[in-house]
């Protein structure tokens, strides 16, 4: 592959919101719900995040605008003019509109010229899908410069008005764990990278060595879902199969849910992918200088850490690079937030290896990417 990350940018709306203040943004359901929230926060370790929603529940933002703000940051620091870009790939969990895709919305908001687009919709791993498509487009010679952008605006789904009057809401004002968990986990923002066919002439770039993404939906049922209701037989009824929209909404079809227990069953599969890459000689765990992982080290159970250590696959925690605790879990934007923060960190030197890991609980996806730091002036 001949593709380089030569620039990056991010946009996080508003001021950081602390754990104590976050309930004002996602809204109060009940004291019991907030207790579960505090428990979730203790587990995920997030201390602050950003919301595109004001505390009164109004907003001026859309995903497209958040993405465009991230691109403004990117081009404000890049040597490339945005008119030179030939390809835009976007990643998100739920677009502003069901139709058309986010890439169209972002293109319209971004000041980019007519160009090729692709809208990748999944959960967190859609970021890696977008990055891989951009890297392959550039590597194939189809475009000299491409963008991969991830954006999320989850808080708008978490307002009490989206739960009141639906079957999901218990009479005591609590939600089932699978619906409540995500309210305390996800937050808003956008970030992206510029991918070119040669390193930036000045400063450090990241050569993309390879990207590996695999789905395990052949063996996992949907785990993080939106737009459906459990049918009681292990399946989901899509919202559009209800006789009326009102009935679908009443049944809770439009709520985001995360089966936390199923997520824990996926962890070994995600680790197994790393073992595969080690066996194939693509990853040397001792040779990784920066491990950008879209989940926290503390979410791994001791048993998994022990297993990774025995198998020679444990990347020492001091090489984990994370911004999760300050910037929150921003889903499909997280990979790009990590890359942007790493590129700005001053911790990079030419020749270092950067391993990125993006798991997706949706229906079990695991993606890894290896990059090498290169100095444009030497290349």
């Amino acid at each position: 592959m001949r593709a380089y990350v030569t620039g990056s940018g991010q946009f996080l709306p508003g001021e950081p919101v602390s754990n104590a203040a976050m309930v004002d943004y996602i809204g109060r359901l009940s004291p019991q719900a907030e207790r579960l929230g505090r428990l979730t926060l203790r587990r995920n370790g997030i201390r602050s995040r950003h919301y595109a929603m004001r505390s009164d529940g109004t907003t001026d933002w859309t995903l497209a605008k958040l993405g465009a703000a991230a691109l403004d940051d990117l081009f404000g620091r890049s040597g490339l003019d945005r008119r030179e870009v030939g390809y835009l790939a976007t990643a998100t969990t739920q677009n502003d509109l069901m139709v058309p895709g986010l890439a169209s919305g972002l293109h319209a908001a971004s000041g980019l010229p007519p160009l090729e687009i692709a809208s990748l919709q999944s959960v967190c791993a859609s970021a890696m899908m977008a990055l891989k498509s951009a890297a392959l487009q550039v590597s194939a010679g189809e475009h000299a410069a491409a963008l991969a952008v991830g954006a999320e605006f989850s808080s708008r789904y978490f307002r009490p008005g989206h739960y009141h009057g639906t079957a999901a809401m218990n009479t005591d004002g609590t939600l089932p764990g699978d619906a409540e968990f995500l309210r305390w986990t996800l937050s808003d923002g956008a970030a992206g990278v510029l991918v070119e066919d040669s390193p930036a002439p000045h400063g450090l770039s990241l050569r993309i060595d390879w990207i590996s993404l695999r789905s395990f939906a052949d063996r996992f049922a949907p785990c993080m879902t939106g737009g459906g209701v459990a049918d009681g037989q292990g399946g989901l009824i899509p919202w559009s199969h209800f006789p009326t929209i009102a009935e679908a909404a009443q049944a809770g079809a439009f709520q985001l849910r995360q089966d936390v227990e199923a997520l824990h069953r996926m962890l070994p599969v995600w680790l197994g992918e790393l073992m595969r890459l080690v066996d194939e000689g693509r990853v040397d765990p001792t040779g990784v200088d920066h491990f950008l992982c879209h989940f926290s080290a503390r979410s791994l159970r001791d048993e998994m850490v022990a297993q990774a250590r025995k198998a020679g696959c444990l990347i020492p925690e001091e090489r984990w690079f994370t911004n999760l605790y300050e910037k929150g879990n921003v889903g499909a934007a997280s990979l790009f937030l990590l890359l942007d923060d790493l590129l700005r960190s001053g911790q990079l030197t030419a020749g270092q290896k950067v391993l990125c890991a993006v798991p997706e609980s949706g229906q079990c996806v695991m993606a890894y990417a290896m990059m090498t730091v290169v100095d444009g002036e030497e290349a």
Partner: protein, 225 residues
């Protein structure tokens, strides 16, 4: 340098076994009876059939382990296999008790024959155990012990919850869920003892891969005799 190489072979064996296990465990969700169990749709007939089919293979457990023991050169490993055989060779009677507690007839389960998957699994175990110095059998033990340690406990709980059964109907699974953890620690020590070269590492992982596939076949072929 030799110690470093040994550590590399051991890590490679652990990695191979972990990958076999992950593929096995996650793939079990595609087996109809396990899919029903995981999604809360298990019927009592399913559970009785599971017990009935497992019993016909588990009854051979003590025999293949002791046959392997008799062919092992490594004294510590032989000792481990002998202890293991002694501990497990009457487990099948728990399956019979559970079957009766779940509404089955003792004569029926005792008079049953192996399904075609159990035939393949059992045949491989005896074949592999009959080879000279069959250290690869550690891989077979890894899969069987892993089932007990990692799956049996949660399965026992889910079965009880879905079918409203008493403890006396799930004791085989519950017992293995509680007791196989020590066995796995013992397994790690045994693996470290014997995996000192690439050939052994490969052999252990290969045995695990075969046993994992045949165990799944046994579950796929419930009642297909």
């Amino acid at each position: 340098m030799t110690e470093v190489l040994k550590a590399t072979h051991l890590e490679s064996a652990h990695r191979g076994l972990a990958r076999v296990w992950i593929e096995f465990e996650s793939g079990l969700a595609q087996v109809p009876v396990i899919a029903r169990l995981l999604s809360g749709r298990l019927r009592i007939e399913d559970y009785r059939s599971l017990l009935f089919n497992l019993r016909q293979q588990v009854v051979d457990g003590g025999r293949w382990i002791s046959r392997a023991a008799s062919h092992l050169e490594h004294e510590e490993l032989r000792s481990l296999f002998i202890r293991h055989a002694a501990a497990e060779h009457r487990d099948y009677s728990m399956l019979e008790d559970n079957y009766v507690a779940a509404g089955g007839k003792r004569e029926a389960i005792r008079g049953g024959v192996k399904n075609i998957g159990s035939e393949a699994l059992s045949a491989f175990m005896f074949h592999a155990a009959s080879q000279a110095n069959p250290v690869g059998m550690l891989g077979a033990m890894f899969v069987i012990e892993g089932l007990g340690n990692r799956m049996a406990g949660p399965w026992a709980e889910a079965i009880r919850a879905q079918l409203a059964l008493g403890e006396d109907a799930v004791s085989f699974l519950a017992y293995h869920g509680e007791n196989d953890e020590d066995h796995l620690a013992m397994f790690d020590r045994a693996l470290a003892m014997v995996v000192t070269d690439a050939v052994t590492a490969t052999s252990v992982v290969r045995h695990a891969r075969i046993v994992a596939r045949l165990y799944r076949l046994q579950l796929e072929e419930l009642d297909n005799v």
